[in-house]
């Protein structure tokens, strides 16, 4: 395997840059690359043996076997390697959360229950250490979703804002951004009779009737918001600007009620999912289900309503004591077999790099390998309206490409080359730097 045909000065520059400026480790030198002699998985057709991928000006220029390589292209020899579209983690808090326990570094969920006008891209930190660490494992683009929770965060209010899609490389958010608003995030309220009361630090048991009342109130309030957004849209369209007050929140909901912006509804329990589907149907919203731990219980409903599912981590415990132990592992294949589009997501920050592991576990328990690849590279792009730009190795698409030394879902596989927006991007990151640094620590004096 040949190493980069790069001057060592450039690599030193990259190393220095990656230590100081995480997201900026892209080469400035060329914008034309040729990845050749690799096994190319376009996800738009069968794999191409001994294939070539040409990249120019940030996009994929050509893909095929035996295509001519332009003279100005920097050649990457991918002999014995595999070439794929970069992976896509469609629900994360990357850039919004650095150290979960340190609130100063967390911007995931604003105060209040209804914040539809807030947009994740506003606060994503391009210098987050999570960005180079995540892309080193082959994830080239993510969606940061406000209000969603990983294992170390509490979830937020009902509508926490709009999720933003961006590449995991760039100097500023303007450079990184793919689409500022890809979905409105709704945390579907859950009927929980057992809650942990932080005021007294004890478990409180509330009567179902009370909890149901609160739940109904929340759902009705959600409906009210949608109704008011419709009226606002109408007033805006038909009325004169003097006759209505500008309302940022309602304004933000207008594309939602017009069906132009999908809602990412985060729900796990079957009843919550059913109620959410019911709500979105009545309100005429385009729904994407997020997390969906019990989606398997309502798969007929999801299929009939054509609702795609962004699955939370495959590697999670079953929801109920009696649920079969492997249900979270088999769920992806179950949903796929039922004809429901699925994608995998980490719903986290630090665990975003586990995305291929989640897909791999699903394959272990029945999901076809090809489908698993699609579920981490392509399907989310389709769900969030980005399939024209991402998800396959086809000419005209964004050149987010990974070159690996094996099956990207397998645990030992390494990413050898990483392209984001058509730029060769270093896989160096804080973790590797610390490793190299401490590997070199001399033995302590005795």
């Amino acid at each position: 395997m040949k190493i980069l045909t790069f001057s060592s000065r450039a690599s030193a520059l990259i190393l220095a840059a990656s230590l100081a400026f995480p997201a900026w480790t892209q080469t400035a030198a060329t914008t034309s690359y040729a990845i050749k002699r690799g096994r190319v998985f376009t996800l738009a057709g069968p794999p191409i043996e001994n294939g070539t991928v040409l990249i120019r000006d940030g996009k994929i220029a050509a893909v095929g076997a035996g295509i001519a390589i332009p003279s100005d292209a920097q050649v990457i020899d991918a002999t014995g390697l595999e070439v794929y579209p970069g992976m896509f983690d469609p629900v994360t808090q990357i850039g919004l959360n650095e150290v979960s326990a340190v609130s100063a570094t967390v911007d995931v969920s604003e105060l209040g229950d209804y914040n539809p006008e807030l947009i994740a891209a506003t606060a994503v930190n391009p210098a987050s250490a999570h960005i180079p660490i995540t892309r080193a494992n082959g994830i080239t683009e993510v969606i940061a979703a406000p209000g969603t929770s990983g294992f170390d965060l509490q979830s937020g209010g009902l509508i926490d804002g709009q999720a933003s899609a961006f590449n995991l490389a760039g100097w500023t958010m303007d450079e990184m951004q793919i689409n500022r608003s890809v979905a409105m995030v709704i945390n579907w309220p859950s009927i929980q009779t057992r809650t942990f009361d932080f005021a007294t630090f004890s478990i409180k048991e509330k009567p179902y009737a009370d909890v149901k009342k609160d739940y109904d109130k929340s759902v009705n309030a959600l409906g009210d918001w949608m109704d008011r957004a419709r009226h606002y849209a109408q007033a805006k369209e038909k009325g004169s600007p003097a006759l209505y007050e500008r309302d940022l929140k309602l304004e933000a909901l207008v594309p939602v009620v017009e069906g132009k912006l999908p809602v990412l509804v985060v729900a796990d329990e079957a009843r919550d999912i059913r109620n959410a589907v019911d709500f979105c149907t009545k309100q005429n919203l385009r729904m994407i289900l997020g997390s969906g731990a019990e989606a398997w219980k309502v798969k007929d409903l999801l299929r009939d309503k054509k609702i795609p599912v962004v699955l939370g981590p495959t590697n999670r415990l079953p929801e109920q004591e009696d649920t079969p132990y492997d249900k979270p592992y088999t769920e992806p294949s179950e949903l796929f077999a039922a004809g429901i589009p699925i994608a995998f997501a980490s719903f986290g920050t630090a665990f975003s790099r586990r995305l291929p592991q989640y897909a791999g576990t699903a394959v272990a328990y029945g999901l076809p390998h090809d489908e698993a690849l699609k579920a981490v590279m392509l399907n989310a792009a389709q769900m969030f309206g980005l399939a024209d730009q991402l998800g396959t190795l086809e000419p005209g698409k964004l050149a987010n490409v990974i070159v690996t030394n094996g099956d990207p879902l397998e645990l030992q596989t390494q990413v050898r080359y990483l392209f984001i927006k058509g730029q060769l991007t270093s896989t160096d990151n804080k973790h590797r730097d610390l490793y190299e640094q401490y590997r070199k620590r001399p033995q302590p004096a005795r």
Binding site: F201, S202, P207, Y208, A209, V211, Q320, E321
Partner: protein
């Protein structure tokens, strides 16, 4: 004594009875002695529990004790004779776990929110010196409703904390609170519920168990150290006073039973192990998963008080909440515990455990008998075995000469829901139980009872001897 006899033309028997009632009233009004101390229930079916059933027998009560029982017993002249034809006499029933007579805070026991304990030396949730007998309120309406159903004796248990106090065996009748008390310090109940809130000690089950262990160690130390000090005051450092050690030392030295909480299998097995480790005279309370570990219980020889409030699905719970198989099985099988324990030879009693009243107690008992507990075993558990477990088997729980005269006289099988309790004797005090009147339908006149006494719209009956 100035009695006016009613001048009515009624059957002789009724006249005598009315006279007796008025005489009794008069005595009650004066609130002094002079109540009848001698009774005989004649010609009844007698179920002694400690022996074979006696058809057509007689029980003689004298001065609070059972004087004689049998088919051919001498009835003292002074005795008030009750015709037992068609009636059955049982030992008074024992409810081995209540808080009858004790004041309850409206919101259950909430320890004062002060700074939490920082360690065992702060003695969190520990008030073993509280004795139920000292706090008894005899105006608790449950005394009457329990008694009307045939319960003559209950164990009443203080609540709140890990060592809430000492439980008392009371009989459900008397003038002053002290009359009720059969054994003031009958047992030391223990609870493993952490009292520390989130940040006080203990705030975990293991911390609570460790705390109890430490308290028992401290008590054992005091038991050893105090006598040494007292006999060598000039040679040994003075032993400090700790009220808990002092009180528990006395309790354990008098071999008081220690009630350990144990409802499911894990808790029962743990209870057996801890009882052995701590070398206390233990009785487990709860016991509802005894059906799984009856053999282990039998081998341990530890008695069990079984809570008759069988586990149920939460009434105000989420109707769509997933019920897990483990809990479903438990709820289904728990009523089979008494039968399983009986079969395995485990000594057990029964208690109401928070059931609203005797109606529910018998309803729940029926679930146990439906699940295989024989009526004999049920009766025994509710009488003699409970008495034994509480250390009072020599004087309670069966109809035998010398025992305290706690009796239930009913017109049929005591556990049959159609049976009516007619008379109850508590410590030889006679309570005549009258039916509750049914609400009157318009236009319908209620006929008088056969014996001529007026039906009363009362909660339970009033009887002689109050």
């Amino acid at each position: 004594m100035n009695h006016r006899l009613p001048r009515r033309s009624v059957p002789m028997f009724a006249m005598v009875l009315c006279a007796a009632i008025l005489i009794g009233w008069a005595y009650t009004a004066r609130g002094e002695g002079g109540e009848p101390r001698y009774f005989a229930v004649k010609g009844a079916r007698i179920v002694p529990v400690s022996g074979a059933v006696i058809e057509n027998g007689t029980v003689v009560v004298a001065k609070g004790l059972i004087q004689a029982v049998g088919t051919n017993v001498a009835i003292p002249a002074e005795a008030w004779v009750i015709d037992g034809a068609g009636l059955t006499v049982y030992p008074g029933l024992i409810d081995a776990g209540t808080n009858i007579g004790l004041a309850q805070d409206d919101d259950g026991k909430k320890p004062a929110r002060g700074p939490g304990a920082s360690g065992p030396e702060d003695r969190p949730g520990t008030t073993p010196w509280r004795v139920a007998a000292d706090e008894l309120k005899t105006d608790d309406k449950r005394i009457e409703s329990w008694r009307n159903a045939g319960f003559t004796t209950v164990l009443t248990v203080p609540e709140g904390g890990i060592f809430p106090g000492q439980a008392t065996v009371i009989d459900l009748g008397g003038e002053r609170a002290g009359d009720y008390v059969v054994r003031p310090r009958a047992s030391v109940p223990v609870s493993f519920k952490p009292v520390g809130g989130f940040f006080g000690f203990p705030d975990s089950l293991m911390g609570t168990i460790a705390y109890v262990r430490q308290v028992l160690d401290d008590t054992a130390w005091y038991t050893q150290a105090e006598p040494i000090y007292q006999t060598n005051p000039t040679k040994t450092e003075r032993v400090p006073y700790d009220r808990t050690e002092f009180v528990l030392n006395r309790a354990l030295q008098s071999n008081e039973i220690v009630l350990l909480p144990a409802n499911n299998t894990i808790q029962i097995m743990r209870g057996i192990r801890l009882a052995d480790e701590w070398k206390v005279r233990a009785v487990l309370y709860g016991g509802q998963q005894g059906y799984e570990v009856a053999a282990a219980l039998a081998a341990s020889k530890i008695p069990v008080l079984v809570n008759l409030k069988w586990p149920e699905r939460a009434k105000d719970g989420d109707p769509e909440a997933e019920q897990n198989l483990r809990e479903l099985r438990f709820r289904d099988r728990a009523p089979g515990t008494p039968a399983a324990l009986a079969k395995a030879g485990v000594k057990f009693g029964l208690y109401s455990g928070g059931l609203e009243g005797p109606k529910d107690i018998f309803k729940n008992l029926k679930r146990a008998t439906d699940a295989g507990l024989t009526p004999d075993a049920a009766l025994r558990a509710m009488t003699l075995d409970s008495a034994d477990i509480l250390g009072l088997g020599d004087r309670l729980g069966s109809i035998a000469p010398g025992k305290i005269a706690n009796l239930v006289v009913a017109d049929g099988d005591i556990f049959n829901e159609k049976t009516k309790v007619k008379h109850v004797f508590v410590d030889g005090r006679w309570f005549q139980i009258h039916e509750e009147a049914a609400p009157e339908k318009p236009g319908e006149k209620k006929p008088d009872d056969d014996d001529g006494a007026r039906s009363r719209q009362a909660k339970g009956g009033e009887g002689v001897g109050r």
